[in-house]
Symmetry: C2
Subunit: 234 residues, 2 copies
Amino acid sequence: MTTTPDHSTPHAVVLLSGGLDSATTLAIARHDGFACHALSFDYGQRHRVELRAARRVAQHLGVTSHRTVTIDLRAFGHSALTDDIDVPKDQLDAHPDHPVIPVTYVPARNTIFLAYALALAEVIGSSDIYIGVNAVDYSGYPDCRPEFVSAFQSLARLATKASVEGSPLNIHTPLINMTKPQIIEHGRLLGVDFAMTHSCYDPGPSGNPCTHCDACLLRQRAFESLGLRDPLLP
Amino acid sequence: MTTTPDHSTPHAVVLLSGGLDSATTLAIARHDGFACHALSFDYGQRHRVELRAARRVAQHLGVTSHRTVTIDLRAFGHSALTDDIDVPKDQLDAHPDHPVIPVTYVPARNTIFLAYALALAEVIGSSDIYIGVNAVDYSGYPDCRPEFVSAFQSLARLATKASVEGSPLNIHTPLINMTKPQIIEHGRLLGVDFAMTHSCYDPGPSGNPCTHCDACLLRQRAFESLGLRDPLLP
């Protein structure tokens, strides 16, 4: 969906999966004063219901544009999110001290997503990209770490026309040091309706959350710790 | 095409456009002792005949696998290679001292290509990626510069499972300091059949080169400087 573009305000690209984190990130980017261009990816994920959530969230928070890019990571395989591997259930506390890389990891996913965000930023003349990575979500994903994001920013500043012409690109990670409950509090403060978001890795046929995968469990616990009920629970 | 995989030799991902440079790069990677996984991109380019050239070259040089990934940069627009902008003709010497970024530049193209190469490297358990960028081809493309490639290597070493597990990824740029004639000489030495390659940005209906775009002119001059005739010329 699209609202009327306003070229007097700065523009930003916001990676939007339709989950709780990216919805809050979009709300923060709007609050920071940016006209936001949401970017989602159809990468053959089993939880494609998240693309519908991304559209709802984009509309709800008033983006300037929303693009969904189809990429075929499926050809490369090797992830429970795209292959016929069972999504692990009730395993969140299995490795509390030594997080292992989960089977839901998609190879080089954030590198690919940020590369597309960089292309879009260049096309729309933006110097700002928002991505909702955070320490809790890290839990073994190498491409959610602050040092990864920092390295991508260094790359981005060498990669595009704008960088050659002296307008350095900034990667914003407003959630990087927030806990899940803090993200929810921040989102609520900025008017995010979390009933519109989607987090489950293995939803049922109607898009309902399984309530037992890592993503569901992290989300439920965060709402509970705030004395709230996840609006997605039946 | 695929030949029998041999797991006793190290594996490399080679970006293969079907042009003269990437064909030589693939020959060098083979000569370096790697089993090569060629990776090409269908990004809505007008010169899609290059994808047929990539298949010919991959077969000719004996790759272990060849994948063509479809990406939709076209949705982002802003390039003569994907939009309905005229490809400049006979403009090669227009800006000899102050190279400008040509309209054939595709936003963040090498960032996106290398991101996919990184994903494939991770999936096949490879620590080596070959890309045929070089100083002559730079001519205003920010993402062909050595510092760009170096920044991508730093990123790659933070981005993947393998990097976390201590197997650092290497980006090989064997052509980086070669002139076009040196690339041709090197390729000839390694048995590359340049009649199979394709360089033109604006080919005719049968795939024949226009002979006047920057890519055609650079190529012709390089063959001429060696006292050779470009095998693609009519």
